[in-house]
């Protein structure tokens, strides 16, 4: 698959780089095959890898959900044990948030941002590769506990089982003495590191690498939302990082942060967690709002209605998003003033969200709407996300929330915003940009069939949960008695979940088919508006033969309507760039991967710090500290060698007939 993915892309003559001073090993130059993927610095390949891993975990998280739903199908069910049930709902939540939706968004950030701003890559290509592999490390740490169920000798104590928000004091050594919580803590910590590093890269890229003429208020809305999301990430993740450090200190070094007997207050965890956790909700939903803001105008044949207001609303959501965290804690007894303040702030954040929805409707209004598959998902997004928003505003009223807290009503609410919202938009986006990155169309009929299966399955699963919740069914309940009045709702929801699973399966099966057999398409199959559609599908390694000059908000529409002007401009740009030595491309590198490997060794061993190291039943070391330090040394050494090797790079030259040649040395 790797080779098929890249075969359309430019494959150069492959000059070996000149042997530079201080090279530990030759820099990788492979453009196809495994090495090219492991050492890539190309934002498109990194985006593909993010996307591939994310879809894998999306399917795993989906299977976890189906097991949960099967357990709840009938009362007093014994399909799975209570312990396994705890692990499943914990890992379902953790997986879907951190290993599916966030990396899918990261995939699109990688794939689209440089293309939409007319850049050749992100600002720090090797750092980008480091973010990806660090993310893989976090995913491994979170999931390694499953091994215990298959190989009991690997005693991790199973997968994490403390719920995705890991409330103290459940995470203390008293209640979860096994290693699963330590792995959860470090896994999330590493994922946070990955997200912060990636976000810093995107912030610099969007602010500093824009093509000439691309002012901030001409930026595509998706890129705007990516910028806001990146800021949210770098400002919100530290709160959970510190909270996780405190849990780690409590578990391993005897501190009292959440230890009531030592003066700690478990409520602190809730505050720190939700100071991260609520902005996280917007981290999940703002990029989907961006996809929809790209897709709706394309299929309405109109510019986005009220662009500045849509952008402003996104920024406002980002700001207010930091001031509403305690609405997750209305039942903890914060006092009337705090409760009232967070209630009002939560209602206030519905305003910019509503503004966006009205602007999308305004975009549709009077447009020539064509209901292609991405448009169906985008329209589904608006409708379903609104339903989730309505129940969200209901939670904002603290007295009502006291009734809904920890019930299936909450489950219904956040699945409406995360599936009906985020996932619908992501499915729209995958369908919309698939032709761009694979050069093939997804068949319309099968896309529509998968849409309707997903739409029906989703509503059958989650709509009954509103009633189940209001009838008192608590969330995270392993089973229930048959006289509670929850039998029909649960049965219905489980059949809905199977339907939803069928729909998701169909969706991805069709994508796999399209990858091999889909109709080959040109640059711009949807007649779209933004710059990524101006270049070949799939895009060449260097993205743009000439860095575009942006003249209007919908840059590619302007180019399509001013062909002569743009052609002359581009010819001039190519000539000017060639005079400066050609198109500069960064070299690939092994070090991001090696650094991430060091991080894996360090964190995996640090998680089991106090346990002896055993091999074949014999104790080799009394603790894992030496191994953790070894990992740290690998990490530091890799980072130093990374700094020594420098970005290096080579040049591409585009001849007037379009032929591309490669050269090394010279200007750099």
């Amino acid at each position: 698959m790797a080779e098929a993915l890249v075969k359309h892309a430019f494959t150069g003559a492959g000059h070996p780089p000149a042997k530079a001073t201080f090279d530990l090993m030759a820099r990788p130059t492979a453009k196809t095959g495994l090495v090219s993927w492991l050492t890539t610095v190309d934002h498109k390949k990194i985006g593909m890898l993010y996307g591939g891993f994310a879809i894998l975990f999306f399917l795993i998280g989906g299977l976890e959900a189906l097991m949960i739903r099967t357990q709840l199908m009938v009362p007093n069910n014994r399909f799975i044990s209570a312990q396994l049930y705890n692990e499943l709902f914990t890992m379902h939540g953790t997986t879907m948030i951190f290993l599916a939706v966030m990396p899918l968004n990261a995939a699109f950030f990688n794939l689209l941002i440089p293309l939409q701003i007319g850049a050749r890559d992100v600002a720090f290509p090797r750092l980008n590769s480091f973010s990806l592999w660090t993310w893989v490390v976090g995913a491994i740490l979170l999931n390694v506990g499953w091994i215990t169920h298959f190989v009991p000798a690997w005693n991790f104590g199973g997968a994490p089982d403390v719920g995705w928000f890991g409330y103290a004091p459940l995470t203390s050594k008293v209640f979860t003495p096994d290693m699963s919580t330590d792995l959860w803590v470090l896994g999330l910590q590493v994922l946070g590191l990955s997200s912060i590093v990636a976000s810093l890269n995107f912030i610099v890229t969007i602010i500093n690498l824009r093509a000439p003429g691309l002012t901030m208020m001409r930026l595509p809305v998706f890129t705007w939302m990516a910028l806001v999301t990146s800021f949210l990430l770098i400002l919100a993740l530290p709160a959970i990082a510190i909270a996780l450090v405190e849990v780690m200190m409590d578990r391993n070094f005897g501190t009292n942060f959440f230890e009531v007997s030592g003066g700690g207050q478990p409520i602190l965890w809730q505050h720190l967690f939700w100071v991260f956790g609520h902005p996280e909700v917007y981290i999940l939903i703002l990029p989907p709002m961006g996809y929809v803001s790209e897709i709706l105008p394309t299929f309405s044949r109109k510019p986005l209605f009220g662009y500045p207001i849509v952008v402003f609303s996104g920024v406002a959501i980002g700001f207010i998003g930091f001031g509403v965290w305690s609405h997750h804690m209305f039942t903890t007894g914060m006092g009337t003033v705090a409760t009232a303040a967070f209630s009002i702030a939560t209602m206030a954040i519905a305003v910019p969200t509503g503004v966006k929805i009205f602007n999308w409707i305004g975009t549709l209004w009077g447009g020539q709407i064509s209901t292609r598959v991405p448009m169906m998902f985008a329209l589904g997004f608006i409708w379903m996300f609104m339903l989730g928003g309505f129940s969200g505003v209901m939670h904002a009223a603290a007295p009502a929330d006291a009734q809904q807290q920890d019930s299936y009503f909450v489950i219904a609410h956040f699945h409406y915003v995360l599936i009906g919202g985020a996932t619908f938009a992501l499915l729209a986006a995958i369908h919309f940009w698939f032709p761009k990155f694979f050069g093939r169309m997804v068949p319309e009929l099968w896309g529509k069939i998968s849409f309707w299966l997903i739409f029906a399955g989703f509503n059958c699963t989650f709509f009954p949960m509103h009633f189940l919740g209001l009838n008192g069914m608590p969330r995270r309940t392993w089973t229930y008695d048959s006289n509670m009045g929850w039998n029909e709702g649960n049965m219905f929801a489980t059949w809905g979940a199977y339907l939803l699973g069928l729909g998701i399966f169909t969706y991805f099966a069709v994508l796999v088919w399209s990858f091999f057999k889909g109709k080959v398409c040109g640059n711009d199959p949807w007649d779209a508006r933004t710059l990524e559609w101006s270049i070949p599908s799939p895009p060449p390694e260097h993205n743009f033969a000439a860095i575009p000059t942006v003249h209007a908000r919908d840059a590619w529409w302007y180019e399509k309507t001013h062909k002569e002007e743009i052609a002359a401009e581009k010819a001039e740009h190519i000539k000017a760039e060639e005079a400066h030595g050609g198109i500069h491309m960064p070299d690939q590198s092994w070090y991001p991967l090696i650094a991430a490997f060091g991080l894996l060794v360090a964190t995996y061993n640090f998680a089991q710090l106090r346990h002896p190291v055993e091999m074949f039943g014999n104790q080799v070391l009394s603790s894992h500290l030496p191994l953790a330090i070894t990992g740290g040394v690998i990490l530091v050494a890799a980072l130093y060698l990374w700094a020594l090797e420098g970005p290096a790079g080579y040049h591409l030259h585009i001849a007037p007939d379009g032929k591309i040649t490669e050269s090394r040395g010279g200007h750099h």
């Binding site: 720090f124 610099v204 500093n208 690498l209 770098i234 990082a241 003066g263 602190l268 130093y640 020594l644």
Partner: protein
């Protein structure tokens, strides 16, 4: 807007290849510092919340602290920022030799600060009986100041990498030598802040230097050997790659260093000084 190729002069405040003119690396570090603010914000909040809701039997800070010593190490940390600024200034003028001196000076001042912290922690645990576990003040104090200390230590490590990197020659090999050089720098810095500086502080408080030399003979021997290696490796040879064009790299680490300094001013005020009001 000046062009490097045309005039041979580098404009250190404007990068014409970026949209805003701000160098990418500088923007990255600024954004990271914004993120780091939130790290320390969360930690300082934790400390203050528990300080304002004390638990029976909590440690009494003013009885534990040694405010004179902490004031001294605070002063040293602030002065390290001066050396850092001089290092940036030196490299902006293409003076690699002076850059190296200033980097080493910054690192050593950082180590004095860290040594003060090592002494302080050791003293608090063994003489004042305040541990991570026996009071919530201990938990938050050690975690907060320890996190800051880790930041300083990472800063010293980064500066050490930057220092050793300045020896990378334009031509020829020697990577292994360079790595050994880095290891020697790390050992020197480690010995100085774990043993040397705390022992000197002990000496100021009246301990006998001879006795400490004999107790910590092994680390001092290793440290001395590493120090000799650092001097040996620093004999200047041929032309090096590092130069004025790397000013942005030094400046970026400088941003981090100054930031860690500023955070310490806040921690020193909130954790130490306010206790004496």
């Amino acid at each position: 807007m000046s062009s490097h190729a045309a005039t041979g002069h580098i404009d250190h405040h404007h990068d014409h290849t970026t949209t805003t003119g701000i160098p990418n690396k500088k923007l990255l570090w600024w954004a990271f510092l914004a993120s780091d603010c939130m790290f320390f914000g969360a930690l300082i909040s934790t400390h203050l919340v528990y300080r304002l809701n004390p638990f029976p039997g909590n440690a009494i800070p003013t009885q534990v602290f040694n405010i004179e010593l902490t004031s001294f190490s605070t002063f040293i940390l602030l002065m390290s920022s001066l050396l850092m600024a001089l290092a940036v200034n030196a490299i902006q003028h293409g003076n690699v030799k002076s850059t190296r001196t200033m980097l080493l000076g910054t690192m050593f001042f950082g180590c004095i600060f860290l040594g003060g912290q090592v002494y302080e922690f050791d003293h608090f645990v063994h003489a004042q009986k305040m541990t991570l576990s026996n009071s919530i003040f201990g938990s938050t104090f050690y975690t907060l100041t320890g996190t800051h200390g880790t930041h300083v230590a990472i800063g010293v490590l980064l500066l050490g990498m930057m220092y050793v990197r300045t020896f990378k020659p334009v031509t020829g090999g020697g990577l292994l030598k360079n790595i050994v050089h880095l290891a020697a720098v790390c050992v020197v810095m480690g010995v100085s802040f774990i043993w040397f500086v705390p022992d000197m502080i002990q000496a100021v408080y009246g301990a006998s230097i001879g006795e400490m030399l004999s107790v910590h003979a092994k680390p001092y021997a290793i440290g001395a050997a590493a120090l000799a290696a650092v001097f040996w490796f620093a004999r200047t040879g041929g032309e090096v790659e590092f130069g004025e064009k790397n000013a942005i790299d030094v400046e970026a680490i400088g941003l981090y260093w100054h930031f860690v300094d500023i955070v310490w001013i806040i921690i020193f005020t909130a954790v130490y000084l306010l206790e004496y009001l």
